[in-house]
Symmetry: C2
Subunit: 236 residues, 2 copies
Amino acid sequence: MRATARAGKLIGVGVGPGDPELMTVKATRALRQADVVAYFAKAGNPSHSRATIAPYLRSGMIELPLAYPVTTELPKCSAGYRDALESFYAHAAADIAGHLEAGRVVAVICEGDPMFYGSYMHLHAKLAPRFATEVIAGVTGMSGCWSAAAIPIAQGDDVFTVLPATLPENELRRALARSGRLPRALYVERGTMAEEKMIPLAAKPDDDAPYFAVVLVPGWNHRPGAEPGTELGGER
Amino acid sequence: MRATARAGKLIGVGVGPGDPELMTVKATRALRQADVVAYFAKAGNPSHSRATIAPYLRSGMIELPLAYPVTTELPKCSAGYRDALESFYAHAAADIAGHLEAGRVVAVICEGDPMFYGSYMHLHAKLAPRFATEVIAGVTGMSGCWSAAAIPIAQGDDVFTVLPATLPENELRRALARSGRLPRALYVERGTMAEEKMIPLAAKPDDDAPYFAVVLVPGWNHRPGAEPGTELGGER
């Protein structure tokens, strides 16, 4: 049986970088109106997005935790890894579809912005052909970090690039050093959260980093009145 | 006379892509508590950011419009252009400094995110050495656009890049066509605003685009279960 668009609604809700105040007005409204709130978490770990929305949770809401499989023992490119993730997303989508078919509004809360490196899009791809959907943009983790650090990240004709940190940190560091950008690279950990930490990357003593970590390299060389070496990021 | 940090506070407030509901809770709170709200606008034009915050404006607030000089007759790399902009920012910073020295909280509202291609950072650079400052991250215009279009823009190991549209649109279009990406490129104009418009770039009949326009090219080739040609963006 194929559900109609009227049967329910899936909403991908961006909850921003971690500070509950950095949620949008639209996101808080969606949470108030949803019947079910679903969130991702690593199996056995608390959900960060669930912590972010705690101030806005309505009593009587149905909570639907979606626990990522533990895949640390599987190589990332292996068929086993892909199968484990694909099976996880298929089951998560089926659980959500059950609620949508029952006519419920399901808010899937997403750290940062749902369509920007987010897990939500896997569910969206599976469910959008069958159900009404809405995506609520959120403040990205990186915006939260460079705002907390007050670093102008890009201006004018600057090209802005996000490189997922799949390279070993030592290699990224050497590449930054060779290009002369290491002195203005800032390491930010858990930006906008209570445990926020930021230090110049050059001063970081180790190569360890948690999931919520980013290295910021400000551009902004061509602003009116700019002089070489006066970028704000470099001065911090 | 040098003002102390207690004399006032400068807040760069990201107001998001245009939909007032996409402002953060923190931004609305900052507006409620500010004494002065300052905003950029092209001379003779209404301010877009002022329109976005209209629902949150408190009566009795001091409004400080900052009118960009008209520079259309000046080449962008000319000394005249740079001088006109530099003089504009110097005067704007001086106007704001006057309010800060009088002990007022000044909220400079910024479309999207203040530190991401925003004019606010010019004021921040001039005033941060003398006054207390805070930057409130906002949803970027591009996030607003790809969320409105429900396009998964980047996933997994995707590298994400922002190219300012300083190339002629025809050239960008040819580059997209050569790389095989034109079929999945989406043109979005005034995303999340009342006049929002989106069409496949390939179907756009002309090369005209307003200031609030973006071309989205989704990545997301390496998701679990992905098959070539099944990217969501390409299907729209």
